[in-house]
């Protein structure tokens, strides 16, 4: 039986990152000097408020009353039965306000921005979930909101673009590079450099220069903390496995981090395998990439032999990112988290299964984690428990799903 165990020797999670934001050789602050001062200002503010009781209390109040936490840990009984092995539990981040885990982080960063006296918020978005979550907190606090979004993604994710506009945000199309998430991030950084005095940049994933990977992790760690409590409540013990999808890796690091020292809990991150790892058309830097430097941190990247960042491919726009949070890179290297990939096809199959069997439409991102549960559950006994982080709901993906089936809505 699993219990909350002593910290695993040599891991000592509370020591990471170091004061310069390094997770082993990963992380750091690889930014131009022009950004150094605002990043330093943010580091100091975060250092101060992360330990401030009033700040923490306000964050928790917002999570409860605005986001709707805690969300349930739901036993997917029929699906578990069909798979014939371990019991599958779904952490229902899809039931948060705005429909995904992204709001945990934007609430936290917006509160920080308010304390720092910043009146203008900028953000990047891929699928649009982070953009919507940012526009939401900006409306909530009466702050100006500018969201950078790749031109390609604006076409692919039209409903979310409209949501952001409804919430009062300005959506700026990004036409440089591959016109997707990574380019939106570049453009937001450029905006920040030029407007450092009044602007706060809310990064949506656990990447970027220090302190972003740590800060985004901390604001999302509520996921893992709740999984822990709810597992004990429902089953009397910790889960045997926790599975989460990994693009930049914010929902996964939030789900995993509280378990890092519980060595009996297996942690599995699932990357976007696209058309299959062997085809090269995917978004799985941890599975196939090499360490490099992009967007302010050292981490695993999808790149060519000359060190140019290459285009990624995934049915899910939210996983379509060539890098990954630096803590994941480190957790891979030390072997604490196992990283695997699920293909587009596997994710789509899992999506349909969950719709039909459990009455839940999952986000295509989260469906990658579900797809791995399909492989894993039958190999485990019926007395074992797997938690899958259902990081978001799939309403945003219905156009994509319909298109794949040749249906025009």
């Amino acid at each position: 039986m699993n219990t909350v165990s002593e910290p695993k020797e040599g891991l000592m999670t509370d020591q990471f990152p170091d004061e310069k934001g390094h997770f082993g050789i990963y992380g750091g602050s690889f930014i131009a000097e022009t950004l150094m001062d605002p990043v330093r200002e943010l580091q100091e503010a975060y250092e101060r408020y992360r330990l401030d009781n009033e700040f923490i209390a306000e964050f928790e109040w917002e999570l409860k009353n605005f986001v709707g936490r805690p969300n349930p840990l739901y036993h997917a009984r029929r699906w578990s039965e069909e798979l014939g092995g371990a019991q599958i539990w779904l952490k229902r981040e899809d039931l948060n306000h705005t429909g995904a885990h992204k709001i945990n982080n934007t609430v936290g960063q917006a509160l920080l921005a308010r304390r720092m006296g910043k009146k203008r918020i900028i953000a990047e978005t891929g699928a649009g979930q982070h953009g919507v979550a940012t526009a939401t907190v900006c409306a909530r606090w009466g702050m100006e909101c500018v969201v950078y979004m790749g031109e390609e993604d604006i076409v692919r994710q039209a409903p979310n673009v409209f949501r952001m506009k409804l919430l009062g945000a300005t959506v700026v199309p990004v036409t440089s590079g591959s016109k997707t998430l990574k380019d939106a991030l570049n453009e937001a950084m450029r905006d920040w450099v030029g407007n450092v005095d009044d602007t706060f940049y809310i990064i949506g994933t656990a990447a970027g220069p220090h302190p972003y990977p740590t800060m985004v992790r901390d604001f999302n760690s509520v996921i893992g903390k709740e999984i822990k409590e709810q597992s004990l409540e429902h089953t009397g013990r910790l889960p045997d496995s926790v599975i989460a999808c990994v693009g930049g890796g914010s929902n996964a690091i939030g789900a995993f981090h509280p378990f890092l020292d519980d060595k009996d809990v297996e942690l599995i991150g699932v990357e976007a395998g696209g058309d299959g790892l062997e085809t090269g058309r995917h978004a799985a830097p941890l599975s196939t990439g090499k360490p490099g430097v992009l967007h302010g941190n050292r981490t695993y990247l999808m790149e060519d032999e000359a060190g140019q960042i290459i285009e990624t491919h995934s049915v899910s726009a939210g996983l379509d990112y060539p890098g990954v949070g630096p803590e994941h890179a480190w957790l891979k290297d030390i072997g604490r988290v196992q990283y695997v990939a699920a293909t587009d096809t596997e994710a789509l199959e899992a999506t349909h299964k969950l719709c039909r069997i459990e009455g839940i439409i999952p986000a295509l991102e989260s469906a990658h984690a579900l797809a791995h549960a399909v492989k894993l559950a039958p190999t485990m006994g019926k007395d074992k428990n797997i938690v899958v982080n259902l990081s978001g709901r799939g309403d945003k993906d219905i156009n994509t799903l319909a298109e794949i089936e040749g249906i025009t809505l």
Binding site: A32, E33, T34, D37, P38, G296, A306, I310
Partner: protein
Amino acid sequence: MTRIATRFSEASGRKLLVPYITAGDPDLDTTLALMHTLVRAGADVIELGIPFSDPMADGPVIQAACERALKNNVSLLQVMETVKRFRETDQDTAVVLMGYMNPVERMGYERFADLAAEAGVDGVLTVDMPPEEAEELVAQLRRHELDSIFLLSPTTPDARIKLVSEMASGYIYYVSLKGVTGAANLDTTEVAGKVAHIQSLTGTPVAVGFGIRDADSAAAVSETADAVVVGSVLVALVGEHGQQTDILHSKLFDIVNGMRQAMDAKAGAAA
């Protein structure tokens, strides 16, 4: 003495002119020819941009140049080969490679330093490599007496100016405005004050760049700066006339030479 240091020590009151172009835009043969034109127009140091897929600190003009170069898959290795070809006929003009970390990471610091030195490169500026992270790369570059050039910004506090000064050699590049390359015009009076302050904190020459677009602004900045860097305005010309070589060379010569003359006139008037 390194080539960059020689240029500064032999300047005797004259300020150095440092034009930037992106290597491989629109192709490497054109880049090589443009380098020689820049020298004829009065360049002391050429900053040669290493194209990168995600140039975060650059504005739209240099982004577009990177995209044009990457259409032909121009690599760091090929950029170095171009410097080697430049060195076949020019031993005096200093060449600084300017770019982002990832291509250098991919090549490996040691190999990068070896190949850069062998090609005749004099200095390296990787914009997303702050001094805190740069120890290993700087050590590799020092093995070959290659200069490590770092940026300072209007918001850099004094303690950091000193830190940068300890690691930097060749020159320190002061980014004269908040923003990306090619941003709006700069306030030359404000820049002059800041440059004088930086010079009081370091013995390394101070180059000023970002926002310099014509002979007047170059001359004004050169009153205090030890060197003037000009980039986006030249790269915009390459973008516009990349396929009309004759026009490109003559326009590029005119603007750079205009800056040269205005800066020299300023230096002469001051002397």
